[in-house]
Every structure is written in structure tokens, then in C-alpha cells.
Amino acid sequence: MSRFFGTAALLLILLSITAMGQDSETLLFGSLQTMFFNQKSNVTLSAPLSTGAMNISEERSTFAVQQMDLFLRKDIGESFSAFVDLEFQLNYSSNNRWGSMSLQEAWLNYEPTDAFSVKVGMLYPAFNNLNEVKNRLALLPYVFRPGVYERLLSSLYMSENFVPEHAFVQISGAVPVEQFFFDYAAYVGNAESSYISYSDSYGSPVNDLDTKFEFLSGVDPNSFDVKLFGGRLGLRSRTENFKAGFSLTHDYDNLNDTTQFPQMYTGPRAPLIGDASRVRLGADLSGRIGPVNFESEVIKVLYDHEPAERRDIELDLLFYYTMLGYHVTDRLFLYGSYEGGNSTFDEKWKRNTVTAGASYRISAAVAAKAQYITYRQFRDEALRLDEVVIKFVFLGFSIVL
């Protein structure tokens, strides 16, 4: 019931803001992506199940509203602006408990000059190329984003292990240098979400680690040294046809909560318990030369966790992807991509994804998208044991609202 009233109140606020949009110059806009997907998966086992089966195959198909984002923007005076991103995922319905609705960004920006700005509030921090636009599906040619950014793969890739999800204060700017802009950003935010207090099934705030904040949910009860610190330095051409940069963050991975371990990790969990110091390094390169588009990122996650070192357990993670595309016409874009790395702590499991896709811009506001993906994770390359292969076909429409 409270969910219903919450949603109703939110809609009322949005409608009233829209109604006074002309006077207050508040912009309401958004994006929507609908999709159909077919998934065929095949799991090969090294040892038979109790039924004697060595292979498990399944197929599923579904239609869905993949994601809808509503944005609000308001310019306040000469130097301030405010921005809100409200996200609805997967046929969201509070009544049916489908999908999710979440506040992804809500911040105030103070920008006295083009070379300096301060954002305060919940925001997507600058990290590589895609992190700031990972949920702006209308900007991307993909239906299914590169692994660490794809919410549909959240059970396989734990995004937070690779990229900073949110920050709360960010200083950034762009300084013109000849035909380029030198971009910089530095930010601080809460520890990863597994540290943040949440509500249990009875609605009471819970935090597994610290009882001090148990009168609130959605807050980080840790001391300041456990917070997220990070930044990005980059170079971008004036025409925005070239962009490159390096990113770095430091925070802690919550290994106290063993449910937060990567899904494929099969090693001992209990000995690793603790706050694991973690540095995420990123490099990105993207651009366009004539009709050719390219985009690539590398993310290396380095751990400094004494309990793991003592047992010689490798915790470091790696993710990389590269996309090469061709604008056949102003409307039609074809691309292929490859991504790989390991997302487990013991490096026994590796994974790669090969994609081919097309995006056709029907109008300035509507694009049709198609994507074929082969995702593979495997434990032993030579013997192909314990191999999982999933093939996806995605068809979708992306709409600018």
C-alpha cells in the first residue's frame, strides 16, 4: 500500500513539474527501450549430474520494457543547475513486484566557469567512457551493453566490483588546449552498496556490520576512510570525435558479506572475510574517423587483502571490451564487439563475449536495434570442461521521450 502511495505521489510531483515547465524552465525528458529477446544456453559439465546428464540445455524468450528513464533538469541562475534521473527497469510494476524503480542520479551542479564545476548529490562518477552513460540506452547502439555495465547480467558480472556505481561529490571541468579539451574529474562517495544499510522483509533497517545506523536504511555506516575516492583524466577533441582517458578509484570490497562474492568463485570464503582494499584502474579510447566508429575500455581491479595473500588466493579482476562499427548511412550503423576477462577471484573461470549488431535511426527520436551475442565462460580451455555457452538474440526499439 505504501508503495502505491509512494508511486502516486511521485507521479503527482512529476505532473505538477511538467505543468509549470514553461514558467520555471524545468525540462522533463527521458528515454525508453523496449525489447524482445531469445536466449539459448548450453552447460557442459565435467562430472555427470545424479541423473547422469552431462549437458543441460534450455531456451527462453520474452518481451519486456527493458528500461525507462525520466530526467528532470533545471537551470538556476547563471551558475547552478539541478538534475534528476529516475529509472524504471523490466516491466516495472510495484503491484506485481516486477522490475525495479530507483533514483539513479539527483544532484546540484555549481558551474561558475566552463573549466570548473562541483556536483553535490547522488551522481554517476567519471570513470572510463561508458560509466556516465551506462543507463542512457538511447545514446548507445547496444540493446545489451558491455558486460560490467549490463544490468541483465548482474548475476554474472557484479558491476560494483569493476566500476564505481555512484559518487556524492564531484569536481570536474574541461580546459581547452589547442584543438582538444583536457578533462579532469575527482570524486568521493559512499562505500559499495553491500555496506549500506537496507530494510529487511519487515521494513526494519539492517546492516550486517554496524548497528550504529540501524535507525536508517540507505546510508553507509562506515568511517570516512572506507569511502570511495576516484578520478579521471582525459583528452577529448573539440569536435568530440576522439576521446581517451585514464581512471582510478580506491575503495573497499565488502568481503565480510560472503554473499557478495563473485558467483563463479568456488574457493574458500570464510578465510577471506574483511574489508578488502581495492584499486580500480581504467583506460578508455573512443572516437570516429569518417564512417568508422571505435570504442574500447580496459578495467583492472587490484586487491590488497592480507588474508588472501597469506593463502595465495588471487583476487585481481580484469575486464576489457572493444567495439568497431561502420556508419553505412546517416541512419544505419553496423558493429561488432569482443569482450573478455575474468570476473572471479581465483581466475579459474574466464569469459568472453562476441557481438554483432545493427542500429537503424528511424527518426531523430526512434532507433531500431538488433544484436546477436555469444557469451561463453569456461574453466578449462583445452578440455572445454565446465563450459557455459549462452546465445542471445535481441531486438528492440530505443525512444527519446
Binding site: 538534475f83 561558475p112 566552463d114 545514446l139
Partner: protein
């Protein structure tokens, strides 16, 4: 009768032909003069609201930064409001001048709008609207054909696009 009729017709046709040649020549000459006059008048110009600091540079790089929304403030710190035309010769000339295609600019605008970095330019249908809106919006910038500016005292022509004469 047929022959005479035919001859008469033929004479008439010859007369008609000679008369039309003269008329066509005069019409061609007048049209040419009008077109030449118009083309010397029709030039794409960049206009700003008179509140924009007069010391501001408006070379091609500055205009590129303004229209890619990388420059959001004038030198005095006031916010830039960008106006764009939905279609027309001025738009083609201006985009060519700054070296961007419509598709490229829309991609950049959408990314900046969706990340909250900037609000997209207001796209208007006519040059008269551009002049009127730039004239009444402090910090505004737009582009039009020079004859559209007329005697609007609230706008200032700050750049002329080469090659549009």
C-alpha cells in the same frame, strides 16, 4: 486555304519566336540582376543578444565550442542560450562553417542533455523567430540570413559566414 492558312500561321510563329526571344532575354537579364542583388544581400550571419560582452571572440573554434555545448558561459560568467534553426540554407551554411553535420551535433547534444551537462539548443522554425528570441533572451546566440536581422536593436551581428555571399 490550307496553304495560306499554313503560311500565315508560319509567319505568325516566326514573329512570335522573335518576340519571345527578346522577352526571354530581358527576363533573363532582370532575373540575373535580381539574383545577383539578392545573393550579395543574402549572407548567413551570427547574431547575439546585446547583453553578450562585446570583447567576446567569435572565430570558428568559439562558435564550434558554443554549438557543441562545450562553452556554456560568456566571459562575464553569464549563461549562453543557444538557438538553432530546424532547417534551411542558413543552417546548412552555418553547420558547414563549423565543420559539423546535423547527425554529429544531435549526437553530442543528446549525450550532454542526458548526462545533465547542458540543455540542448532551442530549435526554431523560422529566422524571424530566431531574431526575436535572441533579441529578448540575455546571453543568447543564433544564426540567420543578414536581411532577417532588419533593424532589431536587441541583437548584434558578430560574425559573417564566409562563402555564403
Amino acid at each position: 486555304m490550307k496553304w495560306s492558312s499554313s503560311l500565315y500561321f508560319s509567319d505568325s510563329a516566326l514573329y512570335y519566336d522573335a518576340s519571345m526571344k527578346t522577352h526571354f532575354f530581358i527576363a533573363f537579364l532582370v532575373t540575373g540582376i535580381v539574383l545577383l542583388t539578392c545573393s550579395s544581400l543574402a549572407q548567413t550571419v551570427v547574431i547575439v543578444n546585446t547583453s553578450v560582452p562585446s570583447s567576446t571572440s567569435f572565430d570558428v573554434d568559439e562558435l564550434l565550442d558554443v554549438y557543441t555545448l562545450n562553452k556554456a558561459h560568456w566571459e562575464d560568467g553569464s549563461r549562453i542560450t543557444v538557438f538553432d534553426l530546424k532547417r534551411g540554407k542558413s543552417k546548412a551554411a552555418f553547420y558547414e562553417y563549423i565543420g559539423m553535420s546535423e547527425e554529429e551535433l544531435q549526437r553530442i547534444w543528446l549525450r550532454k542533455q542526458f548526462t545533465g551537462r547542458a540543455r540542448p539548443p532551442r530549435s526554431l522554425s523560422s529566422e524571424e523567430e530566431i531574431v526575436e528570441r535572441v533579441g529578448r533572451t540575455p546571453g543568447a546566440i543564433g544564426y540567420v540570413q543578414n536581411q532577417s536581422v532588419k533593424n532589431n536593436r536587441n541583437v548584434r551581428v558578430v560574425a559573417k559566414i564566409k562563402g555564403t555571399k
